[in-house]
């Protein structure tokens, strides 16, 4: 059975792809830095470590405002990113 070889991408398209991948990685790293800074700012603002958010809501120390839901989401994303790094 005859097989056809897939066409080799041109040097230009390979370069474009590499640059696009690199830009995505740079954006991701910048976002993770922003996330880290935001989580630290929330901890300072509310005076509670991120590991205690849920406990603090349950015992009434913290009200679940929009900022607090963002904090929970940021902390989760940061924790997931740290898990991947390990």
């Amino acid at each position: 059975m005859a097989t056809t070889k897939p066409p080799t991408p041109s040097l230009q398209s390979q370069t474009d792809q590499l640059l696009a991948d690199h830009a995505a990685v740079v954006r991701y790293i910048e976002f993770m830095r922003t996330l880290q800074a935001r989580v630290l700012a929330y901890e300072a603002q509310f005076g509670i470590p991120s590991s205690e958010i849920h406990e603090a809501i349950d015992d009434g120390r913290l009200r679940e405002t929009f900022d607090v839901t963002k904090w929970i989401m940021d902390f989760e994303m940061l924790s997931q990113a740290k898990l991947l790094e390990q």
Binding site: A24, R27, Y28, F31, I53, H54, I57, D58, R63, E64, T65, F66, V68, T69, K70, I72, M73, E76, M77, Q80, A81, L84
Partner: protein, 135 residues
């Protein structure tokens, strides 16, 4: 969203970042009388590799000297002590005093809101409380 063009004055919800687990969408939509809707949605993959909403928070409010919340839907925290079987709930607020009506109301995963359902509810709230907005 086109069906709400007459209702939304400006703003958008845009993808912010994509990580290994999914994509984060965020934005603020603005309406008449200083009413706004803050949206944050984390999309990921579900059990059958379908695209699914992992986390969401829809926060409707009114800007002004006393920025107040109209309602908030989210699944960020599970109110297990209040008997909620899952984290999908709604924070309700008194339209006159702006004070939260506690505890949050459990809505359940099957009834979790979408951007569309929240916009429909917010539009209805604005119509029902026009007398408060026009003050």
């Amino acid at each position: 969203m086109r069906e709400f063009d007459y209702f939304i004055e400006r703003g958008s919800v845009e993808p912010q970042v994509t990580d290994y687990y999914g994509t984060l969408f965020e934005g603020r939509l603005l309406f008449s009388y200083g009413v706004y809707l803050d949206v944050r949605i984390k999309l990921g993959f579900g059990d059958r590799h379908q695209i699914d909403v992992w986390r969401y928070t829809f926060h409707a409010g009114i800007t002004g000297t006393d920025d107040r919340t109209i309602f908030q839907y989210d699944n960020a925290h599970a109110y297990t002590q209040e008997g909620h079987p899952d984290p999908h709930h709604k924070h309700r607020f008194d339209p006159v005093t702006g004070k939260e009506i506690t505890p949050p109301e459990w809505i359940g995963e099957a009834n979790r809101p979408t951007l569309r359902s929240v916009l429909v509810e917010l539009e209805r709230w604005c119509l029902d409380h026009r007398h408060l907005l026009e003050r």
